[in-house]
């Protein structure tokens, strides 16, 4: 299943990217190579011989919409400078100016570092201010974006994983103490009767059950930082019961389903930070929704596990099929 979803995401992003870019090319969204007429007036008292002339750029919104066939409403005037050198004049909009589409995209594609929209200025009549500007051609926006996203997300994945080291170490250390002192065993003893039906393949008194209880509790209390290491520890315990180390067991899937749908008595910290006091109104809505989804998750994990295509294959079958594939 994950194979298909994973490949699907990658292939679809390529397909959508190509469609998007082809559409851009066909409709010439960025009017590549065409010059745009606007009014550039130098600031009063500016030295017209200097290398940098501060200017105000005026844009007629109707002309803009007609030229680009867009619906965005640009501001009528922008701050900018005109740079003079041997090659001629260049108009640069102020850095980080709020630009309408498609100018904003042209800027992000052509001036990534300085974040100012720029282009050679021609036919500048300093008396009336009328002039034309031509921006660099913009093509294959989405293709570039896909490649950039793949690289930056790969980097982010490592950052996320390494960022977990400290919290993981803290909790795994604490859990080691809890295990050696027999604390986990008592958790197992008291919660076993309730959770046993959900995890029938965990033997009585096994520490995996204790880790699962701690993980689910941390999750309910919105302690994401603690829940992840506890969940990982629970997975490690479940893995010791697993005969085929590369295939998930029913209990692992059940734990995962209960985690993705866990009842939240206390909302996650991030949401509290985003919503402020408004969160109080939502606590009961969240409890109701998560209770529904927990029931669905448990039922789905149980029922899907019985389906032929999700059956865990006995070790012997895997060995023979792998030797055939190899």
């Amino acid at each position: 299943m994950l194979n298909y979803i994973w490949a699907g995401l990658i292939i679809l992003s390529l397909v959508f990217g190509i469609v998007y870019d082809a559409n851009d090319l066909a409709s010439d969204t960025y009017r590549n190579g065409e010059s745009y007429a606007l009014t550039v007036s130098a600031a009063p008292g500016a030295d017209m011989q200097s290398r940098r002339i501060p200017v105000t750029v005026s844009v007629n919104p109707e002309e803009y919409r007609a030229f680009y066939g867009s619906t965005s409403a640009p501001d009528t005037s922008f701050a900018g400078v005109v740079i003079q050198n041997q090659e001629g004049l260049q108009l640069r909009f102020a850095e980080d100016a709020s630009l309408p589409e498609p100018w904003a995209t042209i800027r992000s594609q052509t001036s990534e570092r300085d974040n100012d929209l720029r282009g050679p200025l021609e036919d500048w009549d300093t008396a009336t201010g009328s002039a034309t500007v031509t921006f660099s051609a913009v093509r294959f926006v989405k293709m570039r974006a896909i490649a950039a996203a793949a690289l930056s997300m790969a980097e982010l994945a490592v950052e996320l994983a390494l960022g977990l080291i400290g919290v993981l170490a803290l909790w795994m250390g604490l859990l080691q103490i809890a295990e050696k002192s027999g604390l986990i065993d008592s958790v197992v003893r008291y919660t076993q009767p309730i959770l046993r039906p959900l995890f029938p393949d965990i033997p009585k008194g096994h520490p995996a059950m204790g880790m699962i209880v701690l993980n689910l509790t941390a999750n309910m209390l919105g302690l994401g930082n603690a829940a992840t290491p506890l969940g990982i520890k629970a997975m490690e315990e479940l893995q010791t019961l697993n005969e085929d180390k590369e295939t998930a067991t029913d209990s692992m899937v059940m734990l995962l389903a209960m985690n993705t749908a866990s009842v939240q008595i206390v909302p996650p910290v991030l949401l509290v930070a985003l919503m402020g006091l408004q969160i109080n109104e939502l606590i009961f809505a969240i409890i109701i929704v998560t209770t529904i989804s927990l029931v669905v998750a448990v039922v789905a994990a149980k029922l899907l596990g019985r389906m032929q295509r999700f059956r865990s294959r006995p070790a012997a079958v895997i060995a023979s099929s792998e030797s055939r594939e190899g």
Binding site: M153, A257, L304
Partner: protein
């Protein structure tokens, strides 16, 4: 109601410190060499973090590409009529698609909608409930299964996604019922 709520709030503040102090304290009482055992256990942290890297890279880069490709706009347009039939407002569709894929991306949606509609808006209440009610399923799968090197995840993805779908859709109804 109010007292239960404040009790839960206070409890949630105390759980963490109590656990962090409680485990070693209980260990001491049981005559466990707490410091040695802590260090022994903590050694595992690095190994686990490194083990999950390939799984996390695989999942995150695929999701990143998908988001960057503009596929979201197509999906939202395509799904709008279907979800309209069951009464889901189109504004919350991007959240429903992104939630299982990315945590930071869906938090950004909540923030964006707060700026756009204000915290009191029912749409914001819907997306905030969605955010609080579900996990980033693909991240959890990558981390939990990655930590023990499980490659064949069997029915974990469908079970997780079914639960997500139910949570996301019932968030719309529950919020409308409570605040609509």
């Amino acid at each position: 109601m109010e007292t239960i709520r404040s009790f839960i709030e206070i409890a949630s503040v105390f759980v963490l410190p109590l656990l962090i102090v409680g485990f070693p304290l209980y260990g001491l009482l049981k005559k466990v060499p707490v410091y040695e055992e802590f260090v022994e256990g903590a050694k595992g942290g690095f190994k686990v973090a490194v083990t999950i890297i390939p799984y996390l890279v695989a999942i995150l880069f695929a999701i990143g590409m998908f988001r960057a490709s503009g596929a979201m706009d197509f999906l939202v347009d395509g799904l709008r009529p279907i979800f309209g039939l069951i009464g889901v407002p189109p504004e919350v569709l991007p959240m429903m698609i992104l939630r299982p894929l990315t945590g930071s991306g869906s938090a950004a949606i909540v923030l964006d909608m707060i700026n756009q509609f204000g915290e009191d808006s029912i749409l914001v209440k819907m997306v905030a409930t969605m955010f609080g009610s579900t996990e980033t399923t693909f991240y959890v799968i990558a981390v939990y299964f990655g930590a023990v090197n499980i490659k064949r995840t069997r029915h974990a993805v469908p079970a997780g996604l079914i639960a997500d779908a139910v949570a996301l859709i019932s968030a719309v109804y529950v919020v409308r019922w409570m605040f609509g």
